[in-house]
């Protein structure tokens, strides 16, 4: 099939603009990123600057790939990362608009590549259980109800891609942060640091320049791992409880 691509270019000779490319020979079994590989190989041969985009596992789990495709983070399909979108979902002659994730806390590095290290700093601020290597008791010493473990898993399935931020009109990182807070708040292992954790992570999130949550819930709709906004409700409860308890934030 033939496609027209309008791609955001920024860096190198481009100041920040959409550039149009035509591809004539796109196979329906290609993945979206393989389609971009084909474009890039063509650009290199023509001695043009290839389009910078991020990707790694191409199995939908590493969270490296991003892109806003026709206005939607990770493209048109529900619960799917960009790397798992295949061209059979597009029609011959279509025009596709490709942009980077846009948020103040995700500055553009080049073309479609953004800096998401703010997510790392949110985790560093408290997204863990403080247990040194070798301090653990036997794994079966604390039974955990199967459903509870399942719910913790649902929150822990977040891949840290940042689609929630890109989808949010306020560029809020609440879904990401709440997924980690929920994962650890639901489990007995996370109990001891529960209050301190939520306060510190929310403080770091604010410091990074992410916006406030105003319950638009676009984050849940666009999340490739379908992380639920009920985690945000849980974060709010956890935060309130911790604040009322007067836990110091530092």
């Amino acid at each position: 099939m033939k496609l027209t691509l309008k791609i955001w270019r920024q860096g190198g000779k481009y100041k920040g603009e959409f550039v149009t490319y035509k591809l004539d020979d796109v196979n329906e079994h290609m993945s979206f990123l393989e389609m971009l590989d084909v474009l890039n190989e063509k650009l290199v041969r023509e001695r043009e600057e290839p389009v910078a985009f991020e990707h790694d596992c191409r199995e939908g789990i590493c969270g490296t790939c991003s892109l806003v495709i026709d206005g939607r983070p990770h493209g048109p399909m529900k619960g799917t990362t960009t790397c798992q979108v295949h061209m059979r979902h597009y029609k011959d002659g279509e025009t596709i608009v490709i942009e980077p994730f846009r948020a103040k806390a995700f500055p553009v590095i080049r073309d479609l590549v953004v800096d998401r290290s703010s997510f790392d700093r949110i985790i560093q601020s408290g997204g863990y259980v403080s247990v040194n290597t070798g301090q653990a008791q036997d794994a079966n010493a604390i039974p955990i109800e199967k459903d509870l473990a399942g719910r913790a898993f649902d929150a822990a399935a977040c891949i840290g891609c940042g689609a929630c931020v890109a989808a949010c009109p306020n560029a809020s990182a609440m879904l990401f942060t709440s997924a980690k807070v929920s994962h650890l708040a639901l489990l007995p292992q996370g109990e001891v640091e529960r209050k301190r954790r939520v306060l510190k992570m929310v403080a770091q999130m604010d410091k990074e320049g992410f916006g406030q949550c105003s319950n638009v819930t676009a984050c849940e709709a666009e999340c490739p791992k379908e992380i639920s906004v009920s985690n945000i409700a849980r974060l709010n409860r956890e935060y309130l409880a911790a604040s009322l308890a007067g836990e110091a934030t530092v």
């Binding site: 790694d56 590493c62 490296t64 290597t133």
Partner: protein, 644 residues
């Protein structure tokens, strides 16, 4: 029995195999807390081995620097491991034990792994599960709230712990969180988007690395008292593999060129259950977890005439469940190398299915009938979805089509019992080293080894070396050795950008991959390997004459990164072929077609090849030098591997 090679000191402690590790731990020199503060350790890579090592060494009080070429340490390819992690907990009361995990791993590796290392691995396996649970890793549980297990290929017990089909993700996030905590505490400094391009050796000891800041292109010198490479495997030498796109051999290969021996490079694991190739544009292959073989049945049509029929139209009597037929004791759960070769044999006999004829069926119809669709969905739902997204077929209704693909490399940098390479002060852990899986790795053992090395082995063994470094003081980087290494890196980048030829980096990588897959893949022959060596040499010359790398060095330039990595693969590929050619036997993942039993099984030659083949770099156009570490089996009786 091979002659003893005194160059390679494996430093295996004395005593019975089951007592070596305990005894080692009791006697290894320690570094006191006030001295640890004065010792710098560099960790390259942030996957399971790297993140767990960095977190643990940071907790101990060393100054740790972690380098990753990713934007975040959480992206490392360990994250993609699906099926699970083995541990000899025996929670199922089904007869498991440390000894049995040790035995299964040695046998699964076709008697080409080092006994002492494997026993230690089995011993620490149980602590890994404890540690991960304490971190909050949400493993699968039973209704009683205790941990659930499943079985994997090559074993007859259920010892695999899992977190749905995302075990690697959950374990890596556990290690990443532990690492993040150390970053917050100031014990670990993180260098993301930095790639190691050389190791620096001063007076025979590894004293640091040269890294490139991938955003600015700047070359940086980093000194340390020890450097640990946790940089994964080299499966991407085949171009198409289940590895992530950026997995590469560069760090290990650069260390090799500086004097670290490369062991058993030809031992490659071809995973039996991957989604088949669909076209020339294909950039990577996708694995379908081995756990699927717990309930899925492999088959092909009995007659080549039926291969184009719709699978649901082929009656039971006309199907050949070839694994169940050939290996009744293990059936669909034979080890990976055996399952892969069996699939290839059926396709070679004209019974392959799908458009290319390079696929077999993996069928869940029986499992759905026996367990119900809901149970099958609970076990494998996410894998079925992934399959459907990629192929457009629904595996609840139509059998999956699968074919083997390169997945893991058992070979790697040679290390001694302490995980130190042949360069003092340079260590290798996880898939980057060679030590625990012999010629074939069992399923769910890579996660186990990565975390064993990082959490429980290296933090002990590195002290043995570092206890002699407490008087060294900070390592200066303004020395001639650092200057020279940086200059060599800089010159090579200059050369890569200067060729300005006509062919893309991608096209060279694709051609290298094809040579490797055709001649050093599932089946190898002396003739094919000799051809491959010549072809790779020519391809490498062509690369340096005609490669086209766009852009500048002082900017974010992914094509330049890729060019460097492919240039290193072009050297490694040749060494893999040399190793496969010299090893005149078949064992595990290394199958030389000349050496097989009458029924097509791997035929080992224990008399002549029961050794680790470790290669020394001797120069770009020189023949590499082989060193042998004899493998001595004191505990396990060596026999022909049988899963019948």
């Amino acid at each position: 029995m091979a002659a003893t090679d005194f160059t390679l000191k494996s430093n295996i402690p004395d005593g019975h195999v089951s007592e070596k590790w305990e005894s080692y731990k009791g006697h290894v020199p320690l570094v006191s807390p006030n001295n640890k503060r004065r010792i710098d350790v560099i960790i390259v890579g942030s996957g399971l081995a790297g993140a767990s090592a960095a977190a643990s060494l940071g907790e101990l009080g060393y100054n740790v620097k972690v380098f990753t070429f990713h934007d975040s340490p959480r992206r490392a390819h360990s994250i993609a491991a699906q099926g699970g992690i083995n541990a000899a907990k025996n929670y199922q009361n089904d007869g498991d034990s440390v000894y049995r995990l040790f035995y299964d791993t040695i046998k699964g590796g076709d008697y080409r792994a080092r006994e002492a290392n494997v026993h230690r691995l089995a011993e620490v396996s149980t602590s890994i599960i404890d540690q991960c649970v304490a971190q909050g890793v949400p493993f699968a549980r039973e209704y009683g709230g205790l941990l659930d297990n499943r079985s994997f290929g090559g074993t007859q017990v259920s010892r695999t712990f899992y977190a749905r089909g995302q075990t690697g993700q959950q374990l890596l996030i556990g290690a990443y969180q532990a690492l993040s905590r150390q970053v917050e505490l100031g014990n670990v400094k993180l260098y993301n988007r930095h790639e190691m391009l050389d190791a620096v050796v001063v007076d025979g000891k590894c004293r640091g690395i040269i890294a490139r800041n991938l955003l600015t292109g700047e070359l940086e010198r980093h000194g340390a008292h020890a450097v640990v490479l946790c940089t994964g495997g080299y499966g991407n030498v085949f171009y198409l593999s289940t590895n992530a796109m950026m997995c590469n051999t560069t760090a290990a290969w650069r260390a090799h060129r500086r004097g670290a021996f490369f062991a058993n490079p030809c031992y490659t694991q071809i995973h039996p259950t991957c989604i088949p190739v669909s076209g020339d544009y294909q950039s990577k292959l996708t694995l379908m977890s081995e756990s699927l073989r717990n309930d899925g049945r492999c088959w092909v049509p009995k007659s080549p005439a039926d291969t184009k029929k719709h699978p649901n139209q082929i009656p039971e009597a006309d199907r050949d469940y070839y694994l169940e037929r050939r290996y009744p004791a293990f059936g669909n759960l034979v080890p990976r190398d055996i399952a892969s070769r069996a699939a290839k044999a059926e396709c070679d006999a004209g019974k392959g299915v799908g458009a290319t004829g390079l696929a077999v069926y993996l069928d869940f119809a029986d499992a759905i009938k026996r367990l119900g669709k809901d149970t099958v969905a609970a076990r494998y739902g996410n894998l079925f979805e992934m399959y459907e997204k990629i192929t457009g077929d629904n595996p609840y209704e139509v059998p999956m089509r699968i074919y083997p693909a390169v997945h893991y490399t058992m070979g790697g940098l040679w290390v001694d019992y302490e995980l130190m390479t042949t360069i003092p002060g340079l260590y290798a852990a996880g898939e980057a080293n060679f030590s625990d899986h012999g010629a074939n790795r069992l399923g769910a053992s890579a996660l186990m080894q990565g975390l064993a090395d990082g959490y429980f082995v290296l933090p002990y063994t590195i002290g043995s070396y570092l206890s002699n470094e407490i008087r060294t003081g900070a390592v200066p980087t303004n020395t001639p050795e650092f200057e020279q290494a940086e200059k060599e890196v800089s010159d090579r980048i200059h050369t890569l950008l200067g060729v300005q030829g006509s062919q893309t980096v991608e096209s060279f990588h694709r051609r290298l991959g094809k040579i490797m897959w055709d001649k050093c893949g599932m089946g190898r022959t002396a003739e094919g390997l000799q051809q491959a060596i010549g072809e790779i040499r020519e391809l490498r010359q062509e690369f340096w004459r005609d490669v086209l790398v766009p852009g500048r060095r002082d900017e974010f330039n992914p094509e330049l990164e890729k060019a460097w990595r492919v240039a290193d693969f072009l050297e490694l590929g040749q060494l893999m072929c040399e190793d496969a050619l010299h090893r005149n036997e078949s064992c595990g993942g290394h199958f030389r077609e000349e050496y097989q039993t009458p029924d097509g099984e791997a035929l080992r030659d224990d008399e002549n090849y029961m050794y680790v083949g470790a290669w020394k770099w001797t120069g770009e156009d020189a023949k590499p030098e082989l060193h042998q570490e004899p493998l001595v089996y004191e505990e396990i009786k060596v026999s022909q591997r049988s899963y019948k």
